[in-house]
Amino acid sequence: MSQADLMMHGHPPGLTTGIPPFSVPAKKIAMWLFIIADTATFAACLVAYGFIRNASPNWPRPLHSISNVALMTFILITSSLTMMLAVQAAKTGNKASGLRLTLATAGLGLAFALLHVREWFALIGEGMTMFHNPWGTGLFGATFFSITGLHLTHVTAGVVALIAVGLRYNSGRYQADDLEVLGLYWHFVDLVWMFVVPMVYLLNLAH
């Protein structure tokens, strides 16, 4: 839009006319911007991890069992499905089903977090800390706990948000759109896990 058009018609769309950018609600745009920024955060962590791993000659591969991480992956992907069904139910006006599925998603997220903490304690029990482990360079623990910890923080925040938004949706303070925006966040947490599992877990399996 030229300066002349601005003079004649006011402001360009997306600033003050009430027409949101991309014709997408402002809340959704805000969540997409957050997701893009958070993608950069996780990508920076994973690239730094790759850099350190590549440059460390005595990088350990100490993980023995995949059963726990496989179960965690299954739970998180399934929670994405329940979240999507919750949004669909909410959009068709089925409030009870929307709430039930949102709380089911929160329950799955909680189960994921508990399994994650159990795994951490098992590794700590084997002598792994942030700066030391019995198998090789201490950087392994630093990168492992940093990346999985950052993801676990996101999951925990997501569980709290799911419960809060679900209850407020049920009481009528929030709408189906709010559940949809939260759903974007939850799917993103699931998406990040798809990269964390191979990079941090599967590439460190003992053979």
Binding site: A40, A43, A55, L81, M84, Q88, L202, L203
Partner: protein, 104 residues
Amino acid sequence: MTPVAEQKRNETGKDLVVYFCILALAGLQFVIAYKSIDITQMFVRMLIVALVEAGLSLLFFMHLWSEKRSLMWSAGIFTTFVLLAMQYGWTDSFRVANGVPWAK
């Protein structure tokens, strides 16, 4: 069946297909982890599978496919550029591991 109910049923069916595809791809990553192959090969294969999984999740779980195309392209191009720009440090990582090539 009303049109709305039928559309909802179709959407749920599509979502279930995407869900099972993502589960299968996640399973494939675990299979690759137990292959007796070079770690670089393993990394590349797992990364490709993860990218496909992420693509499915973005397009269908996060509904980016049904959003305005301008949003999809803006988010996609910007994020891809940022992710690619982060890869600049790899040559230095290899230098730390192997030494400066022309130093020998």
